[in-house]
Every structure is written in C-alpha cells, then in structure tokens.
C-alpha cells in the first residue's frame, strides 16, 4: 500500500484545512501543540466557529434568527464524535496523515445530519478564512447542489430579482466565494453501496463547465486490504465526469475519540477515507505552496494507483451495462501520495526566467529543458582542483518537473573531470615515431626562375 502513511510534509509550512463536521475536543492530545508530528508550522488547530450560529448572525433576516448568537464555540458536544475522528485523521499530532495541515473547524452540527445551507455557509466561510481545502465527510454532492442553486438563481435573475433574498441566494453566494477563492472541496462519497453517478443524477448536473467541477474530489473507501472497495462504499458509477473526479483511500483508520483527551478508536467509512485524501492534499501543497488546490487535486487524481485490483483489466463496461471495471468502481484509482510527490516527467534545471507558473498536467510550450552542460559538466583534468569547488557551488541547485514543481538536484556526479588521451606522453611519443624519418627534413625547391 502506497497511499499516504505517515508522510510529514515540508517543514515550516502550514496548509489551511477546514473540517466541516461535528466539532472537536480541543483538549484532546491530538490537537494540542504546533505543527503535528514534527512540531513544524503553525498550531494544529488555528481556530473555528459554530457555523450555524455564524450563518444566523450573517443572514438574520433570511434565517429568521435575529438575536445575535455566540458563534465562537466549535468544540465537541455530542452526541456525534464524527468530527473529532475526521479532524484527527487529517492532522492529529500522532495519528494524522499530514504533519502540515493547520485545521480550521467549521462545526456544522452536533449530530449525524447537517443542513445543506450550513454546509454551504461553512464552505464559503472557510474560503474567506483562506483555507486551501475543505473536508466534508457528510453526504452532499456539492457539484450537483451548486448546479441546482445556480439554476434557481438564474431563474430569479430572469424574473428580475437581484441580491441575496433567500437561502438559495445565500448558498449560491457562498459557493461563488469558494469558486472565486479556488478552495478545494474533498467530499466523502457515502456509505450506502450506491452508484454515485446515478444516485446523484450526475449526468444532468455534472459537467466540466460546472465551476466547482475542477475543485472537487469525491472519495470512496477501500477495505482493510486496501485492494478492494469497502463493502459499504459508494462507487463512482458510469458517468465519466464522476469517474474523473473520484478517488479511493483507506476506509478504516485510527482516530481520536473526543470523549476523553487521550481516547482513540477505529473509524470506518468514506468519512474516514476523505480526510486521508485531504491530508495528502495538504502534504502535497506544503511542498509547493504555489500549487493551487485545483492543481493539487488534479495531481492526486493523475497519480492514483491503478494496479491493485483485477477490475482494472476489465474494459467492457458501459455498453453492456456492466459496472465492474476499475474506473467505474475506483474512479481514478487508489490514492498514491508518493507518486503525487514524485516528479511529473523529467526534472531538469533551467536558466530561463520562469518555469510554468501553474498547470494541471501535460506538456508546456514554454517548458525549459536543461542544456547539455547542465547534464554533464566536464572539467579538464588540468583544472581538476576546481572540481570540488564547482560541485560545492552546485549543492542545492533546483530542477523543475513538467508542471513547474521544484526539486533539489544532485548534479555533483555529473561534474567530472576528463583527460585527453591524445595529450599523454605515450601518445606523443607514438606520434614522434610516426614522423621520425621526416624530422629535420628540408623543403625542396620545385621551381625556380631567376
């Protein structure tokens, strides 16, 4: 299994991750201190809100709750312990998959259900707070939901209505904020063994032109072998657009139990798998802060493992109605963070002014390739004493992969000295032998006319 496993991420980088869930026990030992496993970066929990209270305060006339409410509490109350498990899997000090995420808690409920309006507000608030990713381990298809909201708002606007007049307008505005900020949404697929495509009627709501499409990942759960989809997990289904945004991750993980500050428990479901992917996204972004959440999501999709289940060798799905092909079950495959961290294509250093600022993959017209000298710098033997100095100066040189991510290169082995065999004494003496009979030979006059 190459999913994530204890990858600490880059030092001193904190990637903001919102957890839209049932709150956390802030005193739990998984959430105290700074920077997760390595003690790097900012605090594990940077803050949070009671999302419902904050929404009511923000839109009192729409929600009908005009009395100001205390929105500062995001602590676990119960009965749901869900949020504590989810948050700890993302960035817990000891059990979190990411050592770099700094959590912002959007407490959207105390129970196992949450209002879609609260979720929408939570997404929008997280984007406003500058979060890079938001994890939602509650059942909501944000792409379909956004399409629904957008259609309703369009109808209102066609009827001459403007502004935020109702919950639909409010939610649409929150999602627009998410789109404008570019925050990534990582959402659990659900635990009802359903075809995600058909159960959400995605063929009528999902399209690549939906602004949320590129920002959203849907996460299915793998069983304990990590080679099969968990029996309960929803699967991608037959919509190619869903398959392209669907990824799977381990569905059973150890999480922090909020009922005591030192309690732990096993936590299963797509709710458990989604934070694994969120942690991977945070880890990836911690190394390359310039990557947008959309690029991070795409990199995780592009590098997902497809070599772990026999379903990947079945290619007869679709026409026959069969659904047992790899991408119908696993979408793009199994999360493979090491592969996502590995360079895309060949890493080359450059002398150009810039490298691709951002892209989601593929080739680039302005990609700079390393010149031959960069790949092999030969110092003549007569100047061998400077070889070590050139090598020392080259330490830390950066190369760039095809999507502009920098990696430290070790080019010292490519800085070598070379000798010229035609300049050795033996070679010279051989030349002397060859011309020996002509040494000292005088010219002769071919013509002379006085």
């Amino acid at each position: 299994m190459t999913a994530t496993l204890d990858y600490n991420g880059a030092a001193a980088q904190s990637v903001g991750v919102a957890v839209l869930d049932s709150g956390i026990n802030t005193s739990h030992q998984e959430f105290t201190g700074n920077g997760g496993k390595n003690g790097v970066g900012g605090p594990i929990v940077s803050g949070g809100i009671d999302t419902t209270a904050a929404m009511n305060n923000a839109y009192p006339t729409i929600t009908g709750t005009t009395t100001p409410q205390d929105s500062t509490h995001y602590s676990y109350v119960g009965p749901s312990t869900h949020g504590n498990f989810v948050a700890s899997i993302v960035a817990g000090a000891n059990i979190g998959y990411s050592g770099n995420a700094s959590l912002y808690i959007e407490k959207i409920t105390d129970t196992s259900t949450a209002s879609s309006a609260t979720v929408a507000y939570g997404f929008g608030d997280a984007a406003t707070k500058g979060m890079s990713f938001a994890n939602l381990s509650y059942g909501l298809d944000p792409i379909s939901y956004y399409k629904l909201l957008a259609d309703q708002v369009a109808a209102e606007q066609a009827a001459g209505q403007t502004g935020i007049n109702n919950l639909t307008d409010m939610q649409y505005a929150q999602f627009q904020n998410v789109i404008n900020k570019g925050m990534g949404l990582i959402v659990a697929a659900g635990n009802t063994t359903l075809n995600f495509s058909t159960s959400n009627n995605t063929t009528s709501t999902w399209s690549t032109s939906n602004p949320l499409y590129g920002q959203t990942l849907i996460v299915g759960a793998l069983d304990s072998t990590h080679n099969n989809l968990a029996s309960y997990s929803n699967f991608a289904g037959d919509d190619p657009n869903v398959q392209k945004r669907f990824i799977t991750a381990p569905g059973t993980n150890t999480g922090a139990d909020p009922t005591s500050n030192t309690a732990y428990g096993s936590f299963s479901g797509t709710s458990s798998a989604a934070p694994v992917v969120t942690a991977a996204a945070a880890t990836l972004k911690s190394y390359w802060s310039f990557m947008t959440p959309t690029q991070v999501d795409q990199r995780l999709l592009d590098t997902a493992d497809k070599n772990f289940n026999a379903m990947w060798s079945i290619h007869t799905c679709g026409a026959s109605g069969s659904l047992n092909c790899g991408n119908y079950y696993f979408g793009q495959g199994r999360l493979d963070l090491p592969a996502a961290l590995a360079p895309a294509g060949v890493v080359v250093t450059t002398t150009a002014a810039s490298v691709p600022a951002a892209s989601t993959g593929g080739a680039y017209a302005n990609r700079q390739t390393a010149p031959a000298q960069a790949a092999r710098l030969v110092i003549p033997a007569a100047l061998a004493p400077i070889q070590q100095q050139v090598r020392a100066e080259s330490v830390g040189i950066q190369g760039f992969d095809t999507i502009g991510r920098n990696y430290t290169l070790n080019i010292a082995p490519a800085i070598s000295t070379a000798t010229d065999p035609t300049q050795t004494l033996g070679y010279e003496m051989q030349g002397f032998i060859d011309g020996f009979m002509n040494k000292g030979q005088s010219s002769f006059t071919a013509f002379e006319n006085h």
Binding site: T349, T419, G440
Partner: protein, 303 residues
C-alpha cells in the same frame, strides 16, 4: 625571380601529414598548407627539432588539438629588416571523450625583424575561435562547451641562428599570453574567462648527419581567471526562477612542464637512429601522476 618550394610529409599510414607549398617572388611570399595533428609548419619557431612535443607546442596555438587543418599565409618584406606575416587556417577536431565536434579558426599576424643574419624577433597577435570547445575541449585545459570560445593571444618570439659550414646552431624562445572567453546563455556554466599562457625555450644543433636539441616548454594552459555559474535555487509562486550566481576562481593547480632532449644520427640516406628523452612534470592528462618520463631509442629506415 620567383621560386616555388614544397614539402609533403607522410605519416606511417602513407597519408599526407603535412603539405606545404610556397610561392615567393621579390619581397612577397604566399603559401598554402595542410597539416595534421602534431605536425608543425616549416617556418614555425621551434619546428623541425628532433624532439616530440615542442615541434607543435612551439608552433601555432591550438594547432596541436586539431585533426587536420588547411590554411594560407602571406609574408611581406617591408625592407631588409622588417617583415610581416599573416596566417589564416581552419581546422577540425573533436572533444575527446565527449564526442562533440569542434572547429578551430585561427587568424595570426606577426610583425618581425631580422636583425643581422642571426637574430629574428617577432611580435604576434593571434585570434582564434572555437565552435564547440574551449581550448580544444580538454587537451590544453579547456572545457567542452556548446557555444564555443573566443581566444586572443599576443606574444613574442625570438630566434637566434648561426650557420657555420654545414653546422646550424639555433636557440629559440616563444612566449604567448592572453585570454579565452566564453558565454553561455543556456547553461549552468554561464561564462568562462580564462587567462592563458604558453612558452617554449630551446636550443638545437644539427648538421647533415647529426641533430641535438634540448627544449623546455609549457603548453598552452590556463593560469587563472574565473568562471560564472547560474544555479536555479527556487521559484516564486508566479513561476519566476530565482538564481544563485557564484564565481569560481580558476585555480589551475596543475601546471604541466615538459623537458625534452632529443638527438638523431643519420646513418645514410635511408637509415637513421635517434634518442628521445622526455620528462613531464605534472602531466595534466594523467591524473594522479606528478611526474612522467619516457625514453625512446629508435631506428628508422626507408626501403
């Protein structure tokens, strides 16, 4: 009055190693020539000695690095003392062990004076351009490069000669120094500025039967200078690459010196014996060696 002189030397494979033809009339001489590696032209200072290395190290800079070259030269006598010599040649070689192709184009101008019958002194200005190497890629201490190098040398040479009956005594010295420069737009090695030097001094005596020569030389080599590097150290969020641009001093560290003693005795028109003793201090192309020496006893005969 005019005269046409020519020389054709053949190597051990029977191929022309050097061909030289000169047309001279009044105060002007024109020559065209072809030479291969290790062969010097007949009028080069220090040429025609019964020793192995000096014959070309003392001749044209970089000539020892080409496989073959062709050129022309013109000598103009200004008066009985002063003369000028202009020489242009172009040769090809390759960077040994790198497989790249290198072309050397050289232009040289000399202003000389024959002082009496025994002394010749001349000053030289030499410009050379390499297509893909730097000082012959490796041979004389240079680099393999993609963009080539421009080389400029200036020097002075002195030749004392004395003829008595059939004996000819000669002492010679050349010293050249200059710089070679390369700039590379697309390399982590962004530039090289190297100071160069080349020197040879020697004495010889010969008659129709015997020849003896002793020579000391330092082949064209790097004496100092620096090189610049352009090393990517990171990037900004918008993709701009940040660079570190260190300078590395070209500390040659290794300076090769050659001592050579050679002698030959012609047994008859078709047979010759010879001895060549070479001592090399700090042989640049033999890493790890501080000294190298060779002794050669040779007998040659034409059949």
């Amino acid at each position: 009055m005019f005269a046409v002189d020519q020389i054709i030397d053949y190597n051990s494979y029977g191929r022309p190693a050097m061909a030289y033809v000169q047309y001279s009339a009044n105060n002007t001489a024109f020559s065209a020539f072809h030479f291969t590696r290790g062969q010097s032209l007949p009028d080069a200072v220090g040429a025609d000695l019964p020793v192995a290395l000096v014959t070309f190290n003392g001749a044209n800079p970089l000539a020892g690095m080409v496989y073959q070259a062709d050129g022309v030269a013109a000598t103009q006598k200004i008066n009985d003392i002063v003369f000028t010599k202009t020489q242009i040649w172009s040769g090809t070689g390759s960077a040994v062990a790198l497989g790249s192709y290198d072309r050397v184009d050289q232009y040289a101008f000399a202003l000389g004076a024959n002082i009496g019958e025994h002394v010749q002194i001349r000053g030289e200005e030499i410009r050379a351009r390499e297509s893909s190497g730097f000082l012959g890629a490796i041979g004389s201490g240079g680099f393999s490069t993609a963009d080539g190098a421009a080389i400029r040398l200036h020097g002075v040479s002195l030749r004392l000669s004395l003829n008595a009956a059939t004996n000819r005594f000669e002492a010679f010295a050349t010293y050249r120094r200059g710089a070679a420069q390369s700039n590379f737009a697309d390399s982590i090695l962004s530039r090289i500025n190297a100071n160069l030097s080349q020197s040879t001094v020697g004495v010889s005596w010969r008659n129709h039967v015997n020849a003896v020569a002793l020579a000391y030389s330092q082949p064209l080599h790097v004496t100092g200078g620096d090189l610049g590097m352009k090393l990517a150290i990171g990037r900004t969020d918008n993709g701009a690459v940040m660079y570190n641009t260190p300078t590395v001093v070209l500390n040659p560290g290794i300076r090769q010196v050659n001592w050579e003693l050679g002698m030959t005795h012609r047994l008859n028109q078709n047979a010759k014996i010879g001895m060549n003793l070479i001592y090399v201090k700090n042989p640049a192309n033999s890493p790890g060696l501080n000294h190298d020496a060779g002794l050669l006893l040779i007998y040659g005969a034409r059949i």
